[in-house]
Amino acid sequence: MKESKQGLEIFQDIARIANSTLDLNETLEKIIEVIKSNLHIDACAIYITDENHKIFNLKAASGLPPDTAKFIQLQIGKGITGWVAQHRKTLALSDAHNDPRFVYFPEIKEENFISMLSVPILVDEQCIGVINIHNAEKRMYTDLEILIMETIASQVSGCISNAMLFSKSQMLLKEQTILYDISQAVQTSTKLEHGLWIILSGITMGEAGGFNRAMVFIINENTNTLRGFMGLGPDSSEDAFRIWTQWGRKKKNMLQWVVSEADKDEYKNSAFNQLVQNMNFPIQPGENILVETVLQKTSFNVTDAGKHPLVSDAFVHSWQINAFATVPLIAHKEVLGVIMVDNKYNNKPISNEQLRLLTRFATHAGWVIENSRLFTKLLETNRELLSTREQLVQSEKLAVLGEISAEVTHEIKNPLVSIGGFARRLENRIKILSSKYENEIELKNIADYSKIIRSEVDRLEKLLTNILDYSKAGTLQRAPCNINELMEEAIFLFKSGFYLKDIAAHLSLEKDIPLLNLDKTQFRQVLINLFYNAMESMPSGGKLTIATYPENYVGGQKVITLRIEDTGGGIPQDIYENIFNPFFTTKSTGTGLGLSISRKIIEMHGGTIRIENNIGRGVAVYLHLPLQNGPD
């Protein structure tokens, strides 16, 4: 009766403790006190397992040697406690030393105790801890004592799972806060460097990711390489210590501090950042683990770099690391780069929890890169649009100016030709008269006046010519251009025409073609004329072959040759003789100028045009264009 009342009091006390605080250590200490004061025992200890349920750490104790005991670790299956943990069964031993399962642990000074009661703490059939009580003199544990201890163990299990849930939710909350802060901070800047610096700061801050070093690599699509973009981390252990204590002090307004630091761009000077920025790896299988992260779109958590199949000795050597993790940066399902982290200075292994958090940071970083890419693109497009508009306005102005000056010139030129022309005639007539009447001084004066008119008109004519030459400069507006591109551009204009007429265009373009100095607009006109003729020759379908060839010699000149060949049946002989004549046409809508103009343009470029007429099959037009500039 006395004992059962005692049991009830114990449970009341323990329930009160369990509800009073969420701090696990405090709860456990208090529970031990209750056990010690109510049951006749000499020592009590509570062990809690780690994440893996393999090692049991001493969490709270009373009656054990004070200092060393705090660091006791027991393995599952080893010794009495290990056996209890493994079999999830209570063990009451009046003479523990003589039990076959007994293993002597010097830290506990087990020689001081003889009897022992060991009870497992179970959560969902899983053993998460063990409560042990020890007695110095040999005694038996009563059924009631065992029952009390088992009941206490189930209470403790409740406390532990509550505390674990609490700490987990606390951690998640903290993570959420940090991620929120980071994403807010990232939005303060459109600069890629700043955004990524803030994220890397988050990854390395003790409060959040807590990694020693973090680095970003970004894919360069043009060169198909993975390029080191930024590295954040101490240059040495001393540096690490300095930075971490600095951050420790800044804890309160870490965020503002991070944002203001990003503006300073100081991180750029660190040796580590420069080391990272000098890295550039081709994206190909077997290159290294960073590239594999991109190719396989997956994270790697490497615990022993030397033994990992994807990590080469050279890689380990260049980074001098043993444990690290890589995470791909992904936005819109596309890999943009990689984040790599390590714990070079404190050598802490990277837990799955940390990797999960890192993945979240990587998601943010992915969006930062994507945003900045879009932003840059937007800026570029905007700039292009602006300059195009300016060019348009400018050329429109010039065109209007040219138009006006041409009109004005024409109106002035005709009267000038008459004035000047008749002044010349006048001058000549007076010359004749003067020779007849040598003494007439008046005639000499008149001759001088008409001379003045003539020379002034000459001056005006020259002026007009200069103005016109200025507004309509030159004949050919040459610029280096790729003939293949011109071909493709011109063919594009005929896309729908060819489609409607069921004409298949085959392009066979020489890849390494040198640039030619051509008047693009005029040359395009030639191609359009030739394509048009070819299309008209094949009203019910056919094949158009367009080819460019490497340099060869035609007529002692180094040229590039183009061939445009149709399957339109060729040109009848009587027509063929006239094809280059201006205004000659067989088409009701044609001007008859297509081929003559084309020839003229090609000749102005110093080239030649040759037509191969295969009656019954088709026409092949060859254009030979010199590499050196021909006459204009």
Binding site: A406, H410, P415, V417, G420, G421, R424, R425, E461, T475
Partner: protein, 121 residues
């Protein structure tokens, strides 16, 4: 004596060309429009035509096209107040192109070349 037809809508230019070319020993007829010129070609059978481009009604280029369509093999010298038409593909159908000037020596030389009176340069 070679016959030249001068086509120009400006009366003074016609007069100037007529007097200057007659002095060179040609027989010159003039027409103020392309339409008028068509009739003169029929009647006079000229050996050469000087043709203004910009004219009211049918312009010089259109006239030249008509001429070619009728397969009349008369050489044509296009005369224009400015060199702008030099870039116009259509003027390439002419035998020569001369920019009008108070100094008619270029025109005279071109006529001589086309009529085979001097060796072309």
């Amino acid at each position: 004596m070679k016959k030249i037809l001068v086509i120009d809508d400006e009366q003074n230019i016609r007069l100037l060309y007529k007097e200057e070319l007659e002095e060179q020993g040609y027989q010159v007829t003039v027409a103020a429009t392309a339409e008028e010129a068509m009739g003169k070609i029929e009647a006079d059978k000229p050996d050469l035509i000087t043709l203004d481009i910009k004219m009211p009604g049918m312009d010089g280029i259109e006239f030249m096209r008509k001429l070619k369509e009728e397969k009349r093999d008369i050489p044509v010298i296009l005369c224009s107040a400015y060199g702008r038409y030099k870039q116009d593909f259509r003027v390439w159908a002419s035998d020569a192109y001369v920019v009008k000037s108070a100094d008619l020596s270029e025109l005279k030389l071109t006529i001589k070349e086309i009529l085979g009176e001097v060796e072309s340069q």
